[in-house]
């Protein structure tokens, strides 16, 4: 009974935070609400006996991913966004009934299944070790692919997000205008003034 009460409280906070993220205007508040939501999901992982995932959720999602979001917001300052009339308002209003229909369908399908009483999973103490064993035997290939993916992501992000080309070489690259200019000899003037 207490577990059910705890679930309802956590689920309520999770849904409220999710709604706040979607409905509130302020981006920074949105990021904080997302952290709350992710923390609630981590608590639910704990209740499900997935200790390792709960820790990973906190470290990767609530820690690293949200730090990146907040840093991106600080770098961008979207500030007073989403002002003025919405050009696609009517189209967006359709989202509510569509979302409701989707939700109804999902819940009917999920709850309609006569779920057998769930036995508890493996004993929590060997949960992490069991995942580890799987990672280094059957899931060896996805494991190594993940490292390639992380490497590619790192290369790509440095490529896209850096403000100036060639910061490794002190006088390698000039200002932006010369970057454009070397690519297209004519007509670099208006583009240079864009920056």
């Amino acid at each position: 009974m207490m577990a059910r009460a705890a679930f309802l409280v956590i689920a309520g906070i999770a849904v409220a935070a999710a709604l706040a993220l979607v409905l509130r205007r302020n981006t920074v508040h949105g990021a904080l609400f997302l952290v709350v939501n992710l923390g609630c999901v981590a608590a639910l992982y704990l209740m499900l006996g997935a200790i390792f995932l709960a820790a990973a959720q906190i470290i990767v999602y609530a820690g690293a991913i949200m730090v990146l979001f907040v840093f991106a917001i600080m770098v961008l300052i979207p500030g007073k966004e989403e002002t003025g009339p919405d050009p696609r308002r009517t189209w967006r209003l359709l989202a509510a009934p569509l979302g409701g229909a989707l939700l109804l369908e999902l819940i009917l399908l999920v709850v309609g299944r006569t779920a057998a009483p769930a036995p508890t999973g493996a004993a929590p103490s060997d949960n992490v070790a069991a995942i580890g064993r799987l990672l280094f035997t059957d899931y060896l290939l996805p494991f190594e692919l993940t490292s390639v993916l992380l490497l590619a992501a790192m290369v790509g992000v440095l490529l896209l997000a850096r403000s100036r080309e060639g910061s490794a070489e002190p006088q390698g690259a000039g200002p932006e205008a010369s970057v454009r200019g070397s690519a297209k000899p004519q007509g670099s003037e208006p583009e240079a003034s864009l920056r």
Binding site: A55, L68, G132, L135, T146, A153, A161
Partner: protein
């Protein structure tokens, strides 16, 4: 579930400590506000300008390196637990993983992301 009961009690105690001590302080202290007392205190200087200050993109790039190596660190936990039973093969698998991601670190170093200007 009962295993988490101490955690729950602890959490309740933490929240209660904050609420109770603030409430007691509010009841016990004298309240005589004036203009000087109500002014913002920011290291003695009046805060100027909006809080929305644009940060240089260098912060973001360091955060990015953090996220990559944070993910790597999470992979290390299950590895440490199964290293003994699985033996050297698991060691080399992890060495390859760290080696590949480590190349990215060398790339970041060479591209000058780690130099703070």
């Amino acid at each position: 579930m009962s295993a988490y009961l101490p955690v729950l009690i602890f959490a309740v105690l933490i929240v209660a400590f904050g609420v109770v001590s603030l409430a007691v302080a509010r009841l016990a202290r004298p309240s005589r506000p004036d203009v000087v007392k109500l002014a913002n205190y920011e290291c003695g200087a009046e805060p100027i300008g909006p809080a929305w200050v644009r940060f240089p993109v260098g912060f973001y790039l360091v955060a990015l390196l953090f996220i990559i190596f944070d993910t790597l660190a999470v992979f290390l936990f299950p590895w440490a637990l199964v290293l003994k039973p699985l033996g050297l093969s698991a060691f080399w698998v992890m060495a390859a993983f760290i080696g590949i991601v480590g190349l990215g670190w060398i790339y970041a170093y060479r591209e000058g992301v780690l130099e703070w200007k």
